[in-house]
Amino acid sequence: MSPGRPLRVLLAKLGLDSHTIGVTVIARALRDAGMEVIYSGLKQTPEMVVATAIQEGADVIGVSSLSAAHMHHIPRVVELLREEDAADTLVIAGGVIPEEDVRELQRRGVARVFTMGTETGAIVAYLKDWWESR
C-alpha cells in the first residue's frame, strides 16, 4: 500500500559532528533505490532540521551521528516533530551509538537505530517496507 510516490528522506547532521562518509554513502544508496534525498548540511540544531523536514515535506528524518552528542540532539527532534504536529514523520538514526543509548533512543521515539557496520541494503529494505505499509 505504498503512497504511490517516491519516499522523501531528509538526512541530517546535528551539532558539531562533521563525519560525513556515512551520510554520503547512505545518500547514494537511497537515491539508487529510487528515494528522494535531501541533505541538511553540517552544524544543524534540532529546530533547523525539523523546520527543513516540514518545509521539504520529508517522510523520514535520518540522523547520522558519529560524535558523543547524540543523546542531546536526537530525542529533541522527536519532541519537536510532536510539537509541530508532524509526529507521523519517521525518525531513524545511525552511526556510532552505544547499545544502552540505542535502547533509550527507541524508548524516546526513534523508530530504528542502525549502528556502525550496517549494510546499506538493510536500511533500504527497512525504509521500503515501512513505506509500503503506509
Partner: protein, 573 residues
C-alpha cells in the same frame, strides 16, 4: 648511465626478455594450467591499479628508470631516498602520539604520562566546540565539551593544559585549524606566563583550513578568509618564532576521507601551493618560506602503495618547488613529512586485530622513510578515546619496529625493488597529471569553491563501501572471518561526565573575574585589524591576554568575514 631512456634495449635486457619468455612457456604456463589463480584480477587496494605477477628489470626499462635521476642518494636531489643522508642511523624518528580530552588539567596529566612512556613529541587535539571557534556554553557545544579533545575557552584553560613538566618534550603539534590564530596566541601567552622559552621545543600548527573545507568540516568563515587567516599565522610565526612550523598540510585527513594516494598527494600539493602563493604575496622569497611547510600523512595497509606514496611525496614536493617556484635551498627542498599508520584501516570489530594492522603500517612508514616524526594511532580508537593500555601498546609498536626489525638500519632499504620503483613512478606521474587538472580549474581554492575535491572524495567513499559490501575488498573481522563478539575485551577510557559542567563553570568564573572594558577594547581592535586586512596576530594576542574567550574573538571575526555554509554542490553528498 645516460640520463635519457635508451632508444633500444641493451643486450643484457634482450637476454632477459628471452629468458622471461622461456620461463613463462616452460615453467609458469604449466603451473597456471594446473593451479589457475585465486582471483580473476589482482589490483592494488586504494588505486585499484593492476598488480603484475612479477616485476623485473624489464619493468624499470619500460618506465625509463634512471638511477641518478629517479633515486639518487639520500640527502640530495631528487630526495627520493630520503632527506637525511644517514636515514635513521644517526637518530631514530621522534615518536609521538595524539591525545586530547577533558579539561586542560586532564590533558596536562596525560601529557606527562605519555612523555614518561618514552615519547618525545605530543599532539594535542581539541574538542569540537574549540576547533569550531565556539565557547563551551554555546548551544551547539552541548554534549561535546572535552569529548573529541581538550576544551580551551580562554587563556586560563591553556595555562592549565601546559602546566606540566616539559622535560623530554621536543615536539608539540597543536591541531586547531579554523581558529589557529587564537590557538597560537593562547599558547604564546601561556608559555610567557609559565616562563618557558618558545624556542625550547618545536611547535607545529597544522593551520590547515583548506583541508577543513575539503573534507573535515570545522570551518568558520568563507574559504578566502580562511586562507587569509592561515596566511597571517604563517607570516607571524616566520617573523617571530622562526624555529616553529606554522603550516602542515594534513593529508591524513584526505586519506581519512578515502582519498586514494594519487588524490591525496595531488590535492595536498595543490593546497600547499595555494598557501605558498598567499604567503609569497606578503613579500617573502620562496626560500624563506618553503622550509616551514610540512605534511602529515597516514599510510594504509597496501604495502606497495604505502611505500610508493611516501617516496613519491619526497620526490614530488622538491620538484614542484624547483620547477614552479625556483626554490634552491636544500632546506626548502627537503620535505618535512610526518607519517603515521592510518586510522581508517582500523576496525571496530575484533579490535585486537588492529595491533597487527598498526605494526604492519608502522613498518611501512619506516621502510618508506616516513619522516623525522611519526605517530601511532591506537587499536581501540574506533571505539572510544584511547585507554592508557592502548597508549602503551602504541608506543611499544614504534619501539619494536625501531629496535627489533632492522628496518631503520639501512637507508631507504626497498629502493631498487622493481615493484617499489614502478609503483613510485606510477604514483608520481598520476599525481602530476592530476595537479595539472587542478591548475586548469584555477588551483586548490577554486577547486574547493567549485566542490571538485569534495565530489571526488564522495565518489571514493561510495565506491569503497560497495567494495566492502560486495566482498571485493577483504577486511578481516568485517567481511572475512567474522565471529560473534560478546565482549570485545579491551579496556575503554571513560571520560568523567562532570568534565563538561566544570569547564562551563570555569568559563563563567573567568568571564566574571576579567576586566570587561579591556575585553571590549581588545575585540574592537580584532575587528579593526580584520577589516583593514592587517595581520590578525597582534590584536588576537592582546585579546587573549585579557582573557577574552576564543568564541568571543571568533564571533568578532564572523562579524567581519561572515560565516560559511556550503551549498549542495560543495558538500559532495
Amino acid at each position: 648511465m645516460p640520463a635519457s631512456p635508451m632508444p633500444e634495449a641493451k643486450p643484457d635486457l634482450e637476454a632477459l626478455r628471452r629468458a622471461q619468455a622461456d620461463w613463462q612457456r616452460e615453467t609458469l604456463d604449466p603451473a597456471l594450467a594446473r593451479d589457475g589463480e585465486r582471483k580473476d584480477a589482482f589490483t592494488s587496494q586504494a588505486l585499484r591499479w593492476p598488480t603484475e605477477r612479477l616485476y623485473t628489470p624489464l619493468d624499470l626499462e619500460a618506465i625509463g628508470f634512471d638511477y641518478l635521476r629517479d633515486s639518487g642518494f639520500p640527502g640530495q636531489w631528487p630526495y627520493t631516498r630520503g632527506n637525511d643522508p644517514n636515514g635513521y642511523r644517526s637518530d631514530l624518528w621522534t615518536m609521538t602520539q595524539v591525545t586530547g580530552f577533558g579539561t586542560g588539567e586532564e590533558w596536562a596529566k596525560r601529557a606527562r604520562y605519555m612523555l614518561d612512556q618514552g615519547l618525545s613529541g605530543l599532539i594535542i587535539e581539541y574538542d569540537l566546540p574549540t576547533t569550531n571557534g565556539l565557547d563551551s556554553d554555546h548551544p551547539l557545544a552541548a554534549g561535546e565539551v572535552g569529548r573529541a579533545g581538550t576544551a580551551i575557552d580562554t587563556l586560563a584553560d591553556m595555562e592549565a593544559a601546559l602546566d606540566f613538566d616539559f622535560t623530554g618534550l621536543r615536539h608539540l603539534t597543536s591541531v586547531c585549524n579554523g581558529p589557529q590564530p587564537v590557538n597560537l596566541a593562547m599558547i604564546l601567552a601561556a608559555l610567557e606566563k609559565k616562563g618557558v622559552d618558545p624556542s625550547s621545543f618545536t611547535l607545529q600548527m597544522p593551520n590547515a583550513i583548506l583541508i577543513e573545507y575539503t573534507c573535515v568540516g570545522r570551518y568558520l568563515f568563507p574559504p578566502e578568509h580562511g586562507l587569509r587567516i592561515a596566511t597571517d599565522v604563517i607570516e607571524y610565526t616566520i617573523r617571530n618564532h622562526p624555529r616553529w612550523v606554522p603550516i602542515a598540510v594534513v593529508s591524513a585527513q584526505l586519506y581519512a576521507a578515502r582519498a586514494n594516494p594519487v588524490q591525496e598527494l595531488a590535492f595536498s600539493f595543490a593546497i600547499a601551493m595555494q598557501y605558498l602563493d598567499s604567503v609569497l604575496a606578503r613579500g617573502f622569497h620562496v626560500d624563506e618560506v618553503a622550509p616551514y611547510f610540512s605534511f602529515i600523512t597516514g599510510v594504509d595497509m597496501d604495502f606497495l602503495e604505502a611505500i610508493g606514496k611516501l617516496r613519491a611525496y619526497r620526490k614530488l614536493w622538491p620538484r614542484l618547488l624547483r620547477e614552479r617556484y625556483r626554490a634552491c635551498r636544500p632546506e626548502s627542498l627537503r620535505l618535512n613529512l610526518m607519517a603515521s599508520p592510518g586510522t581508517m584501516s582500523l576496525t571496530l570489530q575484533q579490535p585486537q586485530n588492529n595491533i597487527a594492522r598498526l605494526a604492519i603500517q608502522m613498518l611501512a612508514c619506516v621502510l618508506g622513510g616516513g619522516g623525522r616524526t611519526m605517530t601511532t594511532p591506537l587499536h581501540d580508537e574506533a571505539h572510544a578515546l584511547p585507554s592508557e593500555e592502548a597508549i602503551a601498546v602504541g608506543a611499544a609498536i614504534q619501539h619494536i619496529v625501531a629496535h627489533e626489525t632492522g628496518a631503520a638500519d639501512t637507508v631507504d632499504p626497498l629502493a631498487g625493488s622493481y615493484a617499489v620503483e614502478v609503483m613510485t613512478r606510477r604514483i608520481e606521474d598520476a599525481v602530476m597529471a592530476e595537479i595539472e587538472n587542478i591548475d586548469a580549474m584555477g588551483g586548490a581554492l577554486a577547486a574547493i569553491q567549485q566542490g571538485y575535491f569534495q565530489r571526488e572524495l564522495a565518489r571514493e567513499q561510495v565506491e569503497r563501501n560497495r567494495e566492502i559490501e560486495e566482498g571485493r575488498r577483504v577486511l578481516v573481522g568485517v567481511n572475512h572471518r567474522v565471529r560473534e563478539e560478546r565482549d570485545r575485551g579491551i579496556e575503554l577510557f571513560r571520560l568523567d561526565p562532570e568534565s563538561e559542567r566544570r569547564q562551563i563553570a570555569r568559563l563563567a568564573r573567568v568571564r566574571g573575574e576579567r576586566d570587561p572594558g579591556k575585553v571590549e577594547d581588545a575585540l574592537e581592535r580584532v575587528r579593526d585589524a580584520a577589516e583593514r586586512g592587517e595581520n590578525l596576530m597582534p590584536a588576537v594576542l592582546d585579546a587573549v591576554k585579557v582573557y577574552t574567550s576564543q568564541g568571543e574573538i571568533c564571533d568578532a571575526l564572523r562579524e567581519v568575514f561572515g560565516s560559511y555554509t556550503p551549498d549542495s554542490l560543495t558538500t559532495g553528498v
